[in-house]
């Protein structure tokens, strides 16, 4: 009886599969109104990692902090003038895009690499803001293991988080150099590093910043080293869902505002003075426009006119965010590297606010 019922059941399913196969790709209309949804809700829902020191981490008191988290706070400040109006969702790497696509989170600020296939409408169909951290993929191994280069990893198990670009880059690099290896994949970063620390794999691969962040939380950080090989470019970028240009623009220019503020030397401490200066001096046209004293940039983006002062007042400029979370002021102690302002030879560059 049961088997007959089941075979009946398999029929519609196969039928659905077949029908679905016949359905052709066709273009769709633009859906808008994310911004309206968020404003009506009164808070931003931000997808973060939640267990990555420096980027997003839950403190013992249950509060979130990190570079990715500060982007969420900046966005909330831009929308509501209040950086606390954010609800954070911890997402693992395998569920993050589905969470964004189905509208469960408004903004994905979760050390996500911008790639063509993730951006393209025919791929994951995301919409990317400017990268907030230029990273590269690295490999970490215990110093005692004597592993110095990728070649030393031949035939060895390597731990990697599944569903990441890391996993794909690892496959590519190893294939290029014809190095056989065993990828041990885990669903979450926690499990990946747990397996590494328990010695199941001789190395773990991820973005170099993430490796440094995790290493800083190990019981004996000095026993592990990052190999010199950089396997890939990993521009970590906040993302929104495709098909809502209004919302995507608001996110893009919120991030740009962080960059521009650093370039103009407007910090959390100096924002009040700068704002007063801009208001007092009609000749400071650039500053006045940037801080929303004149012009209607805010309105054009669907944000309040003074969204920039609100952002900077809440989280400071990009340089401050970097220093506080991953730079010298943090446990990670990462170098600015390519994440310097373009004037200093880095890649952080905001298009003009005009």
């Amino acid at each position: 009886m049961r088997s007959r019922a089941r075979s009946w059941l398999a029929l519609p399913l196969l039928l659905a599969l077949g029908l679905a196969g016949c359905a052709s790709d066709s273009g769709g209309g633009v859906q808008s109104g994310k911004m309206a949804t968020i404003k009506a809700r009164g808070k931003l829902i931000c997808g973060v990692d939640g267990s990555l020191p420096g980027f997003s981490f839950v403190g013992p008191d249950g509060s979130y902090s990190g570079l990715d988290v500060d982007v969420c706070k900046a966005m909330a400040a831009a929308l509501f003038g209040d950086p606390t109006k954010v609800e954070y969702r911890n997402l693992n790497s395998s569920e993050r895009f589905a969470a964004l696509a189905s509208g469960e989170v408004d903004l994905l600020s979760r050390n996500t690499t911008m790639t063509l296939s993730r951006d393209a409408a025919g791929g994951n169909g995301l919409s990317f803001a400017p990268p907030t951290f230029y990273d590269g993929q690295g490999v970490m191994a215990p110093i005692a293991s004597g592993i110095k280069t990728l070649k030393d990893l031949a035939g060895k198990p390597i731990c990697v988080e599944s569903g990441t670009t890391t996993e794909l880059n690892l496959a590519d690099r190893m294939r290029e150099q014809s190095i056989p290896y065993t990828p041990l994949k885990f669903q979450t970063g926690d499990q990946t590093y747990a397996a590494y620390l328990q010695g199941r794999c001789v190395a773990v691969t991820s973005d170099r910043s993430q490796l440094a962040g995790k290493r800083s939380s190990f019981p004996n950080p000095d026993a592990h080293s990052l190999l010199p090989d950089v396997m890939s470019k990993e521009p970590l970028t906040p993302a929104t869902v495709n098909g809502d240009p209004v919302w995507a623009d608001a996110v893009r220019w919120t991030v740009n505002a962080l960059f521009q503020a650093e370039e103009l030397g407007i910090s959390k401490a100096s924002i009040a003075a700068k704002l007063a200066e801009a208001k007092a001096n009609p000749n400071q046209a650039d500053l006045r426009r940037f801080l929303g004293v004149e012009g209607e940039f805010g309105k054009q983006l669907g944000l309040p006119a003074d969204f920039v002062p609100k952002i900077i007042g809440a989280v400071g400029h990009y340089g401050e965010i970097f220093d506080r979370n991953v730079g010298p002021g943090s446990r990670l102690k990462l170098d600015r590297g390519v994440n310097k302002q373009w004037k200093d030879g880095g890649l952080i560059y905001s298009p003009p606010f005009r």
Binding site: R2, S3, R6, S7, L9, A10, L13, L14, A16, L17, A20, G21, A23, S24, D25, S26, G27, G28, G29, V30, Q31, S93, S94, F97, A98, A101, S102, S117, A121, G122, G123, N124, G125, P157, S162, G163, E167, L168, L170, A171, D172, M174, R175, Y181, T182, P183, L184, K185, F186, Q187, Q191, A194, A195, Q198, G199, R200, V241, N242, G243
Partner: protein, 322 residues
């Protein structure tokens, strides 16, 4: 007579109402699905199955590398699932039958221990048991010369090494080369942990099925057999079990199917089964609906297959009984 009392009309009215509700619900869901997918540019298509996957899989029976297409990766995942399910079926049946038989032992201590095992294992979630086996037991295994060496088997963190036929059908045990174990047959600890967890868990349930089957055989059969001079084990094997199978086989069917479904928890211990590959695929392609449909279809077919085999076996057992 009003229509709501009419016993010919009423059933059809009820059915029409239920069918209409269900259809409206389905139309509503499908309409949303198509609209939302169109908006996201993700309308159903299967072309991506032929694209190169770009990720590797650690241990595969079906050879697979990153340059091969997604469907091949999913197939390799399915083969890995089948592998652990098949091994799990054999292992849990053996252990479960032994435990079920032991619960009728004349030794009170053995009976008590069997009971305790079943009560402990059945009341602890499988997922918890799996992560326990993996992170606590298997990842604590030593490596190299310190590895646990049993006759024909070596348990190390780098894998489980088994004796098997080497070249020229020569029986070959595990041996150590430069501090690294080699053997004709090597299983990963991920596979080992998953298999151990599944077998330990399912065996407790199968033991109950077997116990129920044996208990269903009339007591007189035991007495008659022992009066013929058969030992306890002989009675069980030659008289009781063949009759008990009649009751046991349908129960086993249920347990086998749940074992097959439980194998999807492999993802928690880093074993790359069908579900794990599907999750990675979804992540790389964003094709949520297609991947979910494939997953559901695959497990349904697997269950169906197990049911068919067990139903066949059931018929066999029933005929033999007369």
């Amino acid at each position: 007579m009003p229509w709501w009392r009419n016993r010919v009309v009423l059933p059809w009215v009820i059915q029409a109402a239920v069918a209409l509700t269900v259809l409206v619900l389905i139309a509503f869901l499908l309409g949303n699905l198509i609209r939302n997918l169109t908006a996201a540019g993700l309308l159903l298509s299967w072309n991506w199955l032929g694209q190169p996957a770009g990720f590797d899989i650690a241990e595969t029976l079906l050879p697979f590398d990153a340059s091969q297409p997604y469907w091949r990766g999913l197939a390799a995942g399915l083969v890995n699932t089948l592998r652990v399910v098949l091994a799990g079926l054999v292992g849990s049946t053996l252990l479960g039958t032994l435990l079920g038989m032991a619960s009728f032992s004349s030794n009170g201590l053995l009976r008590g221990l069997t009971r305790a095992y079943v009560e402990i294992v059945r009341n602890i979630p499988l997922l918890l048991q799996l992560v326990f086996w993996y992170f606590v037991v298997f990842l604590s295994l030593p490596n190299g010369t310190a590895a646990i060496q049993l006759p024909g088997v070596v348990l190390a963190k780098s894998g489980l090494y088994l004796a098997w036929f080497g070249e020229g059908l020569r029986w070959l045990g595990p041996y150590l080369v430069n501090g690294v174990w080699q053997a004709p047959l090597r299983l990963s600890v991920e596979f080992g942990a998953l298999l151990t967890g599944l077998v330990a868990y399912s065996a407790a349930f199968i033991a109950e099925v077997v116990r129920g089957g044996i208990a269903a055989v009339a007591k007189g059969q035991w007495e008659a057999a022992s009066s013929l001079g058969l030992s306890w084990f002989q009675t069980l094997r030659q008289v009781v079990l063949p009759q008990a199978l009649r009751v046991i086989v349908p129960g086993l069917n249920t347990q086998y199917i749940s074992l097959a479904k439980n194998s999807a928890l492999a993802v928690a211990v880093g074993y790359t089964d069908l579900y794990s590959v599907a999750e990675t695929t979804l992540n790389q392609t964003g094709r949520a609906v297609e991947v979910v449909l494939l997953l559901l279809a695959a497990y349904l077919v697997l269950d169906l297959f197990i049911s068919l085999v067990m139903n066949g076996l059931n018929r066999l057992v029933q005929i033999r009984e007369r």
